[in-house]
């Protein structure tokens, strides 16, 4: 399925298939037809995942298998009712965020999706190639909801990054991201982690803002984008990534088309510079649109 020279990717794949053998056809499909540069990027992501999981990679693969089965219930609900199961943050907190064992498995599984879900990997590649490679120096950067730490780690390591902050409303989540950044070996002297509610953010502005897979967890995503516009320095850029038609136990806001994501970013005053719409594994963008399948919508925009 994978050429031997991509040894980290091959190793993780082998462990994943031992943990979740019924996923073999899916994973064959996920990697079929991938170009060399895509496999090279997968190898890079696999390296980061090994750094984060260390000797515990099997647990993460098991948790990915658990996640894959768990989202089936959400998918059934979504397909039958054309809406997500939850609609309020209070419900999500009660059913998901306050359940620590659930959250640990969920977060572990989501880390593995960065490799196994083609749309996630491709958005990460777009993040590197379109957002981080966008030029400039002495950039002050922030990620809101840095989670597994991959994007914040890549941001800190990017050319021109002078400082980087990670903001989250959860102290436990910040501690996890801090550990992840240390495991990734990034320059921690550039990094500040803060417990911040975006709607009551400190009077600061940044040159680069990362907001990935957060909008769909909010009741009022447009208000969050308005808050982000305020903390974006004139000339600064934002990276927004949100999934379309993507049922999950804590997704609240349903974007039905990728254009809805782009339009919402634009509506608060950002100028759209680049977009990438990546359909779920195995689907073309046209088929994903026709069948309302998951599409990852990524946007790079600027505050003029």
């Amino acid at each position: 399925m994978i050429p031997d020279r991509f040894d980290k990717l091959s190793s993780i794949l082998k462990i994943q298939l031992q943990s979740f053998p019924e996923h073999e056809n899916y994973l064959k499909r996920r990697f079929s037809g991938e170009m060399l540069e895509q496999l090279e990027f997968c190898e890079f992501v696999a390296g980061m995942i090994f750094a984060l999981t260390k000797d515990d990679i099997k647990t993460f693969c098991d948790d990915y298998a658990w996640l894959s089965r768990m989202v089936i219930d959400e998918e059934v609900h979504f397909r039958r009712h054309s809406r997500y199961r939850l609609s309020s943050f209070a419900e999500a907190f009660e059913q998901v965020y306050s359940n620590n064992p659930f959250m640990t498995k969920y977060m572990n599984g989501l880390l593995m999706t960065q490799l196994w879900w083609r749309n996630h990997t491709e958005v990460l590649r777009f993040f590197r190639d379109s957002f981080l490679a966008g030029g400039g120096k002495d950039r002050d950067c922030v990620e809101i909801g840095p989670g597994h730490g991959l994007l914040l780690g890549m941001t800190v390591a990017s050319d021109g990054c002078r400082s980087a902050e990670g903001w989250d409303i959860s102290e436990a989540s910040l501690a996890n991201t801090s550990k992840a950044l240390a495991d990734l070996g990034v320059d921690l002297t550039k990094v500040t982690m803060r417990e911040v509610n975006l709607f009551n953010a400190p009077e600061m502005q940044f040159d680069r803002i990362v907001f990935s897979e957060v909008l769909e967890h909010l009741e009022e995503p447009q208000a969050a984008l308005q808050a982000l516009f305020k903390i974006c320095r004139p000339g600064g850029r934002i990276f927004v990534h949100a999934p379309v038609n993507s049922p999950a136990p804590d997704h609240l806001y349903l974007f039905r088309t990728p254009e809805e994501v782009v339009d919402m970013v634009s509506s608060v005053g950002f100028e759209i510079l680049d977009t990438r719409f990546e359909p779920c594994t195995g689907a073309s963008l046209a088929r994903a649109r026709k069948l309302d399948l998951t599409i990852s919508a990524a946007v790079v925009a600027r505050r003029s």
Partner: protein, 84 residues
Amino acid sequence: MNEISRDAILADVTEVIRDIFDEYEGPVTPDLNAAKVPQWDSLAHVQLMVLLEKKFGIRFKMSEIQSFKNLGDVIASIENAQER
């Protein structure tokens, strides 16, 4: 099982299969299953089941959705639901 109704159901099921699995060009018969259709993964399975629910105006049990072995099982369940 009534042969006529089974054939009529299979014809309608075939229409949905052709729509959702657009890369599959093989025959659609009662023994067709996920192993024979590369696009038929676990999420596509759910999408197929719910499209069939909507087409036939029925509701599968979750246990059925997870245990159907092939289209023959699905067709039998649809026929049973229509007879109730």
